[in-house]
C-alpha cells in the first residue's frame, strides 16, 4: 500500500468490518512501549476481551486494570494521553495500524472484527516520546506562537461588540476554527521532520496546522493587524516554501480542515507580502 493509499484508509472497509464484528471475541493489542526518553523501545502484546462499543481507549483502560502480557508476564499499565473521549480535544492522537488518528474515536469493531485480530498501537512519529504512547507536542503549540495566532484586542474592558461579519465569512472561518491542534497533519507530512532540539524549532518547517491557523487569524478584521508579522514568519526559514504539496495533511485531518486551501491562500499572501517588502526596500 502506498503512503497516500494508507492514509485514505477506507470508510467502506470499516463499515464492512463493523457488520461482521463477532461478539464476545478477544483482540490482540500489540503496543510499542518505551520507558522514557533515551530508553529503548519494545513491543508488548495483550489479549483484550472486547465489550460492546469498545474503542482503543476502553481497551487501554482494560489493560491498565489487568496489566499482564499475552505471555502471562506482569507489566505496567500503558501510558497515553487523553481527555475528552469525544474527538474534540486532540489529546489521544497515536498511530493505529499504521495510520495516525485519535484513539478515542477508533472503534475496535471497525479495525479488528474477528477473534484474534491484531491492533497495533505506536506513538506519533514526529514528536519525542515521553513514555509509551505519550509524546511531547510542545513544538506544535510553539508554532502557534510563531505565527501570533491570536486577535490583538486592546483589553478586556467593555468596548462594545466585535466587527460585524457576513454569514458566509463566518462559515469559512468556522471551518478553520475547528482545528484541535492534534498534530495528525504534521505526523503525516513528509516535510515535517522530528526535531528534539528546541532551539531549531523556529527555523524548522512549521506544518499545515499553524499555516491554517495563520490564515484563520488573517481573515479576522482585527486579527488582520498582525498579518505582516505572520507573513514574515511564514516567508522565512521553515515557512510556507518548505511545503512540498504532498497533501498528506488534508487526508488525515480528522476535522476536515481545508488545509490545501489554507496552504494555497497563505502561499498567495506570501507572494504579495514579498512584493510589498521589495517595494518598501526591506528585502
Amino acid at each position: 500500500m502506498s503512503e497516500a493509499e494508507a492514509y485514505s484508509y477506507d470508510a467502506e472497509m470499516r463499515k464492512a468490518n463493523r457488520a461482521k464484528a463477532v461478539a464476545g471475541r478477544s483482540v490482540i493489542f500489540k503496543i510499542k512501549r518505551c520507558d522514557g526518553p533515551g530508553k529503548p523501545a519494545r513491543w508488548e502484546s495483550f489479549k483484550v476481551p472486547i465489550e460492546e462499543g469498545a474503542n482503543v481507549i476502553s481497551s487501554l483502560n482494560w489493560i491498565a486494570a489487568n496489566p499482564v502480557t499475552i505471555e502471562g508476564k506482569k507489566t505496567t499499565p500503558v501510558v497515553w494521553e487523553s481527555n475528552c473521549l469525544e474527538e474534540v480535544c486532540g489529546a489521544c492522537t497515536m498511530v493505529i495500524n499504521g495510520r495516525v488518528r485519535q484513539s478515542c474515536s477508533c472503534l475496535i469493531n471497525e479495525y479488528a472484527p474477528c477473534e484474534g485480530d491484531v491492533m497495533t498501537l505506536e506513538p506519533m512519529s514526529k514528536f519525542p516520546v515521553i513514555r509509551d504512547l505519550w509524546v511531547d507536542r510542545a513544538r506544535l503549540f510553539n508554532n502557534l506562537t510563531r505565527v501570533k495566532a491570536w486577535v490583538p484586542i486592546d483589553g478586556t474592558y467593555n468596548m462594545g461588540p466585535g466587527p460585524k461579519e457576513s454569514h458566509d465569512h463566518q462559515q469559512m472561518r468556522y471551518a478553520l476554527s475547528e482545528c484541535m491542534s492534534c498534530g495528525c497533519c504534521l505526523d503525516a507530512c513528509p516535510q515535517f521532520i522530528k526535531e528534539e532540539d528546541e532551539s531549531k524549532w523556529d527555523s524548522s518547517f512549521i506544518g499545515a496546522h499553524a499555516i491554517s491557523q495563520a490564515r484563520y487569524f488573517n481573515e479576522h478584521e482585527t486579527g488582520k493587524q498582525l498579518k505582516a508579522d505572520r507573513m514574515d514568519a511564514l516567508s522565512g526559514a521553515g515557512g510556507i516554501n518548505d511545503c512540498g504539496n504532498a497533501q498528506n495533511c488534508v487526508k488525515v485531518c480528522p476535522k476536515g480542515i481545508p488545509l490545501t486551501e489554507s496552504i494555497g491562500a497563505i502561499g498567495r499572501s506570501a507572494t504579495i507580502h514579498a512584493i510589498k517588502q521589495f517595494f518598501q526596500g526591506k528585502k
Binding site: D35, G53, A54, N55, I57, S58, N61, A64, A65, P67, T76, P77, V79, E81, S82, N83, C84, L85, E86, E87, V88, C89, G90, A91, C104, S105, L107, N109, E110, I130, R131, F141, L144, T145, K148, A149, W150, V151, P152, I153, G155, T156, N158, M159, P161, G162, K164, E165, S166, H167, H169, Q170, R173, S177, E178, M180, S181, F217, T222, G223
Partner: protein
C-alpha cells in the same frame, strides 16, 4: 524579581483562562497550572451555547433581569442571588468581549450574531458557534493566554498536577499562600508561593464512574482543598442528563433535540426480549414516556424523562437485554429530513457506536453531567436594593437593573468568589454559587467566564491592597513542610507496588469502579434515605480498602497510575460529602429527588448545605445555612407544567446540552 507578588491559577478551562487573562492584564504575574495543555481542557466539550440577553430579545420584552430570574427558578432558589444578578448583568458584555476576541459566533443573514432557543426560556438568548461553542470559546481564551505567555506575563505549567493548597493559620485565620504541585513527566514534587490562589479545576463527574465529563474531571483538586479546610457547598446537587450514549469508556451527550424532532423512547414490552429492535412489532413495544405521560409524551421536561427512564431500567429491570439502556428511535422518520435537522449529533452517534441512527434505533441512558455543588464561596453584595419584591416583574417592563440602578456584587471586593480560606478563590464549575439545585443549559459557560473576568479583579485587589504579609516574606520552612507531606504520601503509594499482595480488592481501578457503581445507584436520579445510608457504608468499606491500595506501576517517570490512584482516595471523600448531604436533605428540590420526601420543604431546607471536613473522623460534617437571597422572593417552581414551557423545551436546537 523574587519578591514580586504573584498569583497562581490552577486549571486552564474557561474559568481558569478568563481569570488568567484578567489578572495578567492588570499587570500581576500569573503561574497557570494544568494537568493537560490548557487547549485540551474539558470546556472544549461544550456544544450548545452561552446565554445572554441581547438587543433582539430585549425588544421582545426580555431583559438581564429575566435571565437572572430564570436562573433562580431553574436552580429552585438554591442559588446565591447576588452573584447571579451580577453575572446575568455582565452576560451581554461578555459576549461582546468574546466576539472581539474573534470567536466565530454564527451569523444571521445580515451579519449579526445569531441566536437559538434553549430550555428554560421563551426568548432566544443563546449565542452559539456551530455545535462546538465550548471549543470556540476555550480557543479564544487560549489564544489570548498564549499572547500573554509570549509577552512573559503568564508562566504556563502544563502537565503539572495540583496536590495541595499551602495554608498557614487555623480556622478564621487560615490563609492560602501557595500550592504543592507535581510535574506529571519527571514526577518532581515542588512548592510554589503565591499571594493568592484561584482554583478553576472544574467538575467531579468521575466520582460517578462514567459521565459526560472528560476523564480528568475527578474532583480531586477540589477534594484536596476540602480536606485542607475549604468548605464544600450543595455537594448533593448533581445534574443528570436524560439522553446520553452509554459507551465502554464514557457517556457521550445526545442532545434533547432528537426528541424534539420526533424521537420516541421505548423498550421491549416483554422483559428479556432479545430480538433486534426492528424485529419487535409495534404492539410489543413499551413507549415509556408516551404511556406514562399521554399529554406530553416524549417531550416531558428533562428531569422527568431522566427519572422515568431510570425507573424502567433500574427498578423494573426492563432495559434492553436487561441492561441500563432504552431505545431512542428516529427510524420512523425520513432519513433526509433527519440529516438536515440533526446531522451533527447523528454523526457523533454513528462515529462512536458504529450504527446509523437513521436506520437503527439509538440506545441511550441518563448520565451524570454537571455538578452544581462545589467549593463554598462568599462575596460582598453590591448596592442594588429591590424596592419592592420584584418577583412580579413582567417581561416588557422597564429593566429594573443595569449598571446605573445598581450592582449585585460590590465589584472588586476582596472576598468575591473567595472560599472560607483567605486568599483561596474558586472559579467556574468548582464554585458552588450560581446554579442552585439545577443548572439551566448554556449558563455554565457564562458563569465560568464571568468568574474569571469579574472576580479576577477581586483577586488583583486582594493581592495589591490587602494588609496581609507578602508571601515572599514567609518562612521557607512552611513550604518545605508542605512539599514533604506530599512527597511522603507519594512515596507511600509508590512503595505499595513492591509490597503488594496482588489482591484485586486493593486494585485502584477496581475501587474506582465500585465507587462509581455505588454513587450512580444511590446518589443520582432517584435517592432514598435507605439507599444513601447503604451507600455511606459502602464508601466506608472502600475507604478502608483504599488505605491499603496497591499501585500497579512503580516507575519514577510519568507514572499515570500513581496520579489516578491518588485521585481515587480524594474521590471517595467527595463522594461521601455528596451522599451525606443528600441523606440529610430530606426534601426534593431541583436535581435532588428523594422518593421518601417528594416535596420541596422550604421551612427546613431552603438552605445551602455546607460540608466541612472533619480531620479527626476523616468524614464530613454537614450544616444547613440560609441561602443568600433577599433579591427575589421564593415561589413555587412549576416549570414545565405549562404549554409554553413545554413547547420551548421541544424546540431546543441541535447540540443543546
Amino acid at each position: 524579581m523574587a519578591d514580586e507578588k504573584r498569583v497562581i491559577v490552577v486549571g486552564g478551562g474557561l474559568a481558569g483562562l478568563a481569570a488568567t487573562i484578567r489578572i495578567a492584564e492588570a499587570g500581576m504575574p500569573v503561574d497557570l497550572f494544568s494537568m493537560v495543555p490548557v487547549k485540551r481542557s474539558h470546556s472544549v466539550c461544550a456544544q450548545g451555547g452561552i446565554n445572554a440577553c441581547n438587543d433582539v430579545a430585549r425588544q421582545q420584552g426580555y431583559s438581564e433581569y429575566q435571565h437572572f430570574d430564570e436562573t433562580l427558578i431553574g436552580g429552585d432558589f438554591l442559588n446565591d442571588q447576588h452573584p447571579v444578578l451580577e453575572m446575568t448583568n455582565w452576560a451581554p458584555k461578555i459576549i461582546d468581549l468574546l466576539d472581539r476576541m474573534g470567536v466565530p459566533f454564527n451569523r444571521s443573514n445580515e451579519g449579526f450574531r445569531d441566536l437559538r432557543l434553549f430550555g428554560g426560556s421563551l426568548f432566544k438568548r443563546t449565542h452559539f458557534s456551530g455545535a462546538t461553542t465550548g471549543q470556540q470559546l476555550l480557543y479564544a481564551l487560549d489564544e489570548q493566554t498564549r499572547r500573554f505567555a509570549a509577552e512573559g506575563k503568564v508562566n504556563k505549567k502544563e502537565f503539572w498536577e495540583f496536590l495541595w493548597p499551602i495554608v498557614e493559620g487555623e480556622g478564621e485565620n487560615a490563609r492560602c499562600v501557595g500550592i504543592v504541585a507535581q510535574d506529571m513527566r519527571t514526577m518532581q514534587i515542588q512548592s510554589f508561593r503565591a499571594d493568592a490562589v484561584v482554583m478553576a479545576t472544574g467538575g467531579c463527574g468521575l466520582v460517578f464512574g462514567k459521565s459526560t465529563n472528560s476523564i480528568i474531571c475527578t474532583g480531586g483538586a477540589a477534594s484536596r482543598c476540602y480536606q485542607a479546610g475549604a468548605w464544600y457547598g450543595n455537594a448533593e446537587m448533581i445534574q443528570v442528563h436524560p439522553t446520553a450514549i452509554p459507551g465502554a469508556d464514557k457517556c457521550r451527550l445526545m442532545s434533547e433535540s432528537a426528541r424534539g424532532e420526533g424521537g420516541r423512547v421505548w423498550v421491549p414490552a416483554k422483559k428479556g426480549d432479545t430480538r433486534k429492535p426492528k424485529d419487535i412489532p409495534e404492539n410489543e413495544r413499551y413507549y415509556i414516556l408516551e404511556e406514562r405521560y399521554p399529554k406530553y409524551g416524549n417531550l416531558v421536561p428533562r428531569d422527568i424523562a431522566t427519572r422515568e427512564i431510570f425507573d424502567v431500567c433500574v427498578n423494573e429491570g426492563m432495559g434492553i437485554n436487561g441492561s441500563n439502556q432504552v431505545y431512542l428511535d428516529l427510524t420512523h422518520m425520513d432519513p433526509d429530513y433527519l440529516t438536515e435537522k440533526l446531522g451533527g449529533i447523528l454523526d457523533i452517534y454513528e462515529k462512536f457506536v458504529g450504527d446509523d441512527p437513521r436506520f437503527t434505533p439509538m440506545r441511550i441512558f441518563p448520565a451524570v453531567h454537571y455538578s452544581m455543588g462545589g467549593l463554598w464561596t462568599t462575596y460582598t453584595p453590591g448596592n442594588y436594593q429591590p424596592e419592592s419584591p420584584v418577583s412580579s416583574f413582567k417581561p416588557g417592563d422597564p429593566i429594573p437593573i443595569g449598571n446605573e440602578p445598581g450592582h449585585g456584587l460590590d465589584i472588586g471586593a476582596h472576598n468575591n468568589a473567595m472560599t472560607n480560606i483567605t486568599g483561596l478563590y474558586a472559579f467556574g464549575e468548582v464554585n458552588f454559587a450560581y446554579h442552585g439545585a439545577t443548572r439551566l443549559g448554556a449558563n455554565a459557560l457564562l458563569s465560568c467566564i464571568f468568574d474569571g473576568v469579574c472576580n479576577g479583579i477581586s483577586v488583583v485587589n486582594f493581592v495589591r491592597e490587602g494588609d496581609q504579609q507578602p508571601v515572599s516574606e514567609l518562612d521557607q520552612a512552611l513550604f518545605d513542610a508542605a512539599t514533604k507531606q506530599e512527597q511522603d504520601k507519594h512515596d507511600k503509594l509508590l512503595d505499595s507496588t513492591s509490597t503488594g499482595t496482588g489482591d484485586q480488592q486493593l486494585n485502584p481501578y477496581q475501587i474506582a469502579f465500585e465507587l462509581g457503581e455505588e454513587m450512580n445507584a444511590a446518589s443520582t436520579v432517584v435517592k432514598t434515605g435507605a439507599g444513601l445510608e447503604k451507600c455511606l457504608i459502602k464508601l466506608e468499606e472502600l475507604k478502608e480498602r483504599y488505605a491499603k491500595v496497591e499501585l500497579g506501576d512503580g516507575a519514577m517517570w510519568t507514572n499515570q497510575s500513581l496520579s489516578f490512584t491518588r485521585a481515587v482516595g480524594d474521590m471517595i471523600i467527595i463522594g461521601e460529602a455528596i451522599a451525606k448531604a443528600g441523606l440529610l436533605r430530606e426534601e426534593s428540590r431541583g436535581s435532588h429527588y428523594r422518593t421518601d420526601f417528594p416535596e420541596r420543604d422550604d421551612d427546613r431546607f431552603w438552605k445551602t448545605s455546607v460540608a466541612k471536613f472533619n480531620k479527626e473522623t476523616g468524614k464530613s460534617d454537614i450544616e444547613f445555612v440560609d441561602v443568600k437571597a433577599g433579591l427575589v422572593k421564593l415561589r413555587p417552581r412549576d416549570y414545565g407544567k405549562t404549554e409554553s414551557n413545554a413547547s420551548s423545551a421541544s424546540k431546543e436546537p441541535i447540540g443543546a446540552s
